[in-house]
Amino acid sequence: MTILNDIIQGILLGGLFALFACGLSLMFGVMDVINLAHGDVAVAGVYLAVVLIPASHIPALWIFVLVVPAFMIGGYLVQRYLLQPSLDSGAITTLLVTFGLSIVLENVLLEVFTANSYSLNVGSLVSSSWQVSSQISVPYLDLVILGVAIVVLVALQLFLVRTRTGRLVRAVADDREAAELVGANYRHLFAVAAALAFGTVAFAGLALGAYTQVSPTAGPTYLLYGFEAVVIGGLGSLWGTLAGGLVLGVATTLGSQVDPNLGSMLPHLVFLFVLAVRPRGFFPKRAVT
């Protein structure tokens, strides 16, 4: 029974990982960029919320209405003025620039906020839980985070399938030149994809901040979880990404049953195993890249 409880907890945690992963997946699918600063951007979201909550008097649960749009604008600008020039100068450059961004962001947060951890107080959600049976209890916060993850994924999917811009974002992932030939400015579309990625990772950061204490150096850990979910799930498939996140979540909670160290390590081991046997993941889509 505790195993069942662990698996349920793991699935709930997996929603958080999937939230980290979907932005990475989108940017990788559309412009072949892995943003190594992805985790640090999420952490920056927590710190922005920490600053904005007292200033705006918006409760922590609703602060996303400020943070997410701010990050979408930020994502658009970062893509347009930092990543796009690096893309123009080669794939290696982009990787290095996002890595540099990660280190710079992390150290700026360290300088400004010191090494202290912060979390977002979302009130009674944290403490209360739904007692399913004597063995199984599901914290409301975890349920909310999984719900947010699913809503974000569905919204993203709808945007990509139903809207004029979303359709072209998919199109530019298929064939950049052809997208230009139908009159699209691919730089704009890339920046739109980055805006969506930054918006989703802002959600991820806020969920993380509600879930646990976040320090300026936490970013890379969640970047790695996110990337692992993308790889396990198979590139280019948002639902595969969700599945990948769930696998990692369950690996974390099951490992933690043995000891906390194994809880941190097991998702990475699962990832390395998948990389060794199925480098294209378990739900590979037809090659998008």
Partner: protein
């Protein structure tokens, strides 16, 4: 009538290689101009440069009297230039219908809709929900043309129309060309099938190693002249004495 497209002294480099060498060219509205030449002659490079995918090293491109030489691709689409690229370049993961809708991304006004394209190529009707990568080469070619038409162009650049097409599909596409042109569209056509090109075009140009070796109306050109220009044999007198 003033020219819709006016290319003058255009040279294009791929690194060290000069793929197009001082080419002059005009296309007027309602006219089909064909570009013939052997493989590697620079035809695709020329069309892609007109569409904005390559930057010329010399020369200018005027469209509708306006200098578009420095414009990015998407701005030229907005101005009314559409290229059907060699190799079709479908959006493979999008449905056929979404490929067509994507073609209208530039929001240029005009007569073309998905239904109009289906009228042109009726088989698309029952396959509009299929993903584009599932189509055969000829079907993709038709969708590519439809997608280009969806931008309501005034100038249509067609690269290697007949490549990979079945004779029936090809016949169908060539049958609709005059229809499109009579509505005022200008067409610049790259074709390896010389006879086909001569039969539809008002004027032809032959490229050899990036240079314009021959230009004129099909009726005024002899087969031997064309052959000489095409393969670079014979005296190959550069007969660029053509009325623009």
């Amino acid at each position: 009538m003033s020219a819709l497209l006016e290319v003058s002294d255009l040279s294009v480099h791929h690194g060290q290689l000069e793929a197009v060498r001082s080419v002059d060219l005009t296309v007027t509205a309602g006219e089909i101009v064909a570009m013939i030449g052997a493989n590697g002659a620079g035809k695709s490079t020329l069309l892609r440069t007109i569409a904005g995918l390559h930057t010329p090293s010399r020369g200018t491109i005027h469209f509708d009297g306006r200098d578009v030489t420095g414009l990015p691709v998407h701005a030229r689409v907005a101005a009314g230039i559409a290229l059907v690229p060699e190799g079709r370049h479908m959006f493979g993961s999008l449905s056929v219908e979404d490929n067509l809708i994507a073609g209208a991304y530039s929001r240029r006004r005009g007569p073309w809709t998905v239904d109009k394209v289906v009228e042109l190529f009726p088989w698309i009707g029952e396959r509009r929900r299929q993903q584009a990568w599932q189509l055969s080469g000829g079907e993709q070619q038709a969708v590519a043309i439809g997608r280009a038409l969806m931008s309501n162009p005034r100038l249509l650049l067609l690269d290697e129309l007949s490549l990979g097409l079945s004779p029936i599909a090809l016949g169908r596409i060539y049958a609709v060309l005059p229809e499109l042109v009579s509505a005022g569209l200008g067409v610049l056509l790259v074709e390896q099938d010389v006879a086909q090109a001569l039969s539809v075009a008002a004027r032809v140009h032959c490229l050899l190693e990036g240079r314009q070796r021959l230009s004129g109306r099909p009726s005024e050109l002899s087969m031997s002249e064309i052959e000489a220009a095409y393969f670079g044999t014979g005296r190959a007198a550069a007969s660029v004495g053509e009325a623009q």
